[in-house]
Amino acid sequence: MIIRGKCWKLGDNISTDHIISGKYKFEAINDINKMAIHVLEDVIPGFYKLVSKGDVIVGGRNFGKGSSREHAPRLLKLVGVGAVVAKSFAHIFYRNAVNIGLPVIVAKRIPDVSETGDVIEINVVEGYIKNVTKGVEERFTPFPREVLAILEAGGVVEYIKRFGGLPWSRNIG
C-alpha cells in the first residue's frame, strides 16, 4: 500500500471544525457530497478543487482535535486526500480515520521539513515516509496487523462486510 502525492502543509491544532465546520451538518444531511466544497475552506480556500487524488496533508500537533464529527476524515478521503501525516493526532479523529480507511501517520521530522507542493511518498505496510522533493526519509512504527488489515480493506465497514467481523475476533454478528 503505497501513497504518493503532493504535500499540503498545515500547522498545529487543525480541528475538526477547520476541516468541516459544524454549521454545515444540517445543510448536507444524507448527502455528504454537498459538504465537500467546504472542506478546509477557512484554511485553504478552494481546497476541494485544488487537491488531487493521493495528495498528503502534513499537519503538526494534535491534528483533528475537537468534535467527534466523523465527517472530517470522511470528507478528506472523499475529496481525494490519500493520507494525513502529523506529529500527533486527536484520538477520536485517529480512530475515525482508521475506521473509514484513511491512513494516518505519526511522524517526527517530515512535518518540520515539508512544504506545500513537495512530493510525499508513504509505504503504509513497511512503515516509511519520504519527502521526495527534500530527500528526507523517516521510518514510523508500523501499524498493528489488524489496523493495517482495516486500512487495506478500505475501512472497518468494508472489512466487516468482507470477513464477517472485526480483525481481532472475526466472530461478531
Partner: protein
C-alpha cells in the same frame, strides 16, 4: 496499573497495560443528534443491517439541536425516532436532557463499566468510575450492532487535588487551572485519574465538571475512583457498582500533576482557546452581552443552586441576556421544587429547556458579530457560539451569575457572604 487498566483487565479476564489494543465488550453506547445520522447511515446503508443485534445497551439522545430549530434538524430527529424504534435503540427525546447527564442520573452507566459515546465529552461520565471515551459514528454503529469495539488502552496521568475549595471557587476553576498549565494538547494520548483529599468534598455534580473538561486537555478519558461520596450517591438512587476493582490503589501512572486547590481563585478561559486561562481579576470589567449557565459542563443542580444564591434578590443587568438551561428534566424539576427557577426567573433570567444548543452555537442564544458572552460551557473557539467575530469567556456558574448582575466579568465572592 491505573484504574482504567484495572477495569479493562477485569472485564476481559487478563491483565492489560497501556498501549495495548484490546477488543472489549461495550457495556453501553450512545450517540446524539449531531452524530446519530451517520450512525444510521453506517448501519443501514454501509453495513446494510436490517435488524437489531446488540442494541439493548444502545441509546440515542436528541439534545444538540433540541427542540428542533429548523426543518433539517426536525428531519434528523424524525429519522432517529424511526431508527430507534426499528432497531430497538432506546431514545431520549427532546427535553429529557443532555446525554452525559442522563446516562449517569438514570443509572444507565455504573461504576466499572466500559462505555463509548459518539460525543467528545463522553469522559464526563468517568466521574462515577466509568471507563468512558468519545468515538465517531462508525465506532458507535459497530458498538451498537455488535456490542464490541477495539480500544487502545491509554497511559494514565495522576492529577492530585489537595486542600479545600475556597469560597466562590468551584470545580470548574480547578479544571481551568489545570488546562491553563498543561494546555489544550497536554493530555494527548493520555487518560486522567483524579486523586487527593479534595475529592471527598466534591459532589458527583462537581466531579462531572472536572472529568468533562479533561476533553479540553485532549485526554482520551478521565476517571475518578469510587469512594464514599460515590457509594452514598449510588445508594440514594438504588444503583450499584457494575464491576468492582481496587479503587484505592494508586499505581501505574506515567506522570503526576498536583493542584493546590485551596490556593485557587475564580478563573476564566478567555478567547480564543480553552487554555488561555486568566484570573477574574485580570479580566475584571470586560463587558458582556450574554451569560449562559448550562451544558454538560455546568448545568447540574449544584450549578443552578449557586447561580440562584448569587442572583437571589438581585437583577440581571439591563441589556444583558442571562440564559439558564438545566442539563436534564430531572435537574429542572428539582431546581423548580427547590425554588431556584423562581429566583432566577424573577432576577430576569431566561429559563431554557435542557439542550446543548447555545454551547455548540446551534440555537437558543447565538451571538452576533462583536458580542461577548460568559458561558459555563467547555469551548470558546472563534465562532463557537455564533458569529466568527463574537467572543466567549468560559467560567464557573458563580462567575457567570456575578457577571450577569454587573454586565461585566465579575468576582462572585462578594455575593457569597
Amino acid at each position: 496499573m491505573g484504574l482504567i487498566e484495572r477495569i479493562v483487565s477485569k472485564a476481559i479476564g487478563k491483565n492489560v497495560s497501556a498501549g495495548e489494543i484490546v477488543v472489549v465488550n461495550i457495556d453501553a453506547v450512545y450517540a446524539q443528534d449531531g452524530t446519530a445520522p451517520l450512525v444510521i447511515d453506517v448501519v443501514e446503508k454501509e453495513l446494510e443491517l436490517r435488524k437489531k443485534i446488540a442494541a439493548e445497551r444502545a441509546y440515542f439522545f436528541i439534545d444538540h439541536s433540541s427542540p428542533a430549530p429548523h426543518v433539517a434538524a426536525a428531519t434528523v430527529h424524525k429519522e432517529m425516532r424511526r431508527f430507534a424504534k426499528e432497531y430497538g435503540v432506546k431514545l431520549f427525546d427532546v427535553g429529557y436532557g443532555i446525554s452525559h447527564q442522563v446516562v449517569v442520573e438514570d443509572g444507565l452507566v455504573r461504576p466499572g463499566m466500559i462505555v463509548v459515546g459518539a460525543d467528545s465529552h463522553t469522559p464526563t461520565i468517568g466521574a462515577i468510575g466509568v471507563y468512558a471515551t468519545g468515538v465517531g459514528s462508525t465506532d458507535a454503529a459497530i458498538a451498537m450492532m455488535f456490542g464490541v469495539l477495539w480500544l487502545k488502552i491509554p497511559e494514565t496521568v495522576k492529577v492530585t487535588l489537595t486542600g479545600s475549595l475556597p469560597k466562590g471557587v468551584m470545580s470548574k476553576d480547578i479544571a481551568l487551572n489545570i488546562i491553563g498549565s498543561v494546555k489544550t494538547d497536554g493530555m494527548l494520548g493520555k487518560a486522567v485519574e483524579f486523586r487527593g483529599d479534595t475529592l471527598k468534598e466534591l459532589s458527583i455534580d462537581s466531579r462531572m465538571t472536572l472529568t468533562n473538561m479533561c476533553t479540553e486537555m485532549s485526554a482520551e478519558s478521565a476517571i475518578i475512583p469510587v469512594d464514599n461520596v460515590t457509594r452514598n450517591w449510588l445508594a440514594e438512587r438504588g444503583y450499584n457498582v457494575y464491576r468492582e476493582v481496587d479503587w484505592e490503589k494508586e499505581d501505574g501512572y506515567v506522570d503526576e500533576i498536583v493542584v493546590e486547590v485551596s490556593k485557587l481563585e475564580p478563573l476564566v478561559a478567555a478567547p480564543p482557546d480553552v487554555d488561555n486561562v486568566k484570573s477574574v481579576a485580570e479580566v475584571d470589567g470586560v463587558e458582556v452581552d450574554q451569560v449562559f449557565i448550562g451544558s454538560c459542563t455546568n448545568g447540574r443542580l449544584e450549578d443552578i443552586e449557586i447561580a440562584a444564591r448569587i442572583l437571589h434578590g438581585r437583577r440581571v443587568k439591563e441589556g444583558v441576556r442571562c440564559i439558564v438551561s438545566p442539563a436534564s428534566r430531572k435537574v429542572y424539576l428539582e431546581a423548580l421544587r427547590r425554588g431556584y427557577i423562581d429566583v432566577l426567573a424573577n432576577a430576569g433570567c431566561i429559563i431554557a429547556p435542557p439542550t446543548c444548543g447555545p454551547c455548540v452555537g446551534a440555537h437558543m442564544g447565538l451571538l452576533a458579530a462583536g458580542e461577548v458572552a460568559v458561558a459555563t460551557t467547555n469551548r470558546n473557539f472563534p465562532g463557537r457560539m455564533g458569529h466568527r467575530d463574537s467572543k466567549v469567556y468560559l467560567s464557573s456558574p458563580a462567575v457567570a451569575a456575578a457577571t450577569a448582575i454587573e454586565g461585566k466579568i465579575a468576582d462572585p465572592r462578594k455575593y457569597l457572604l
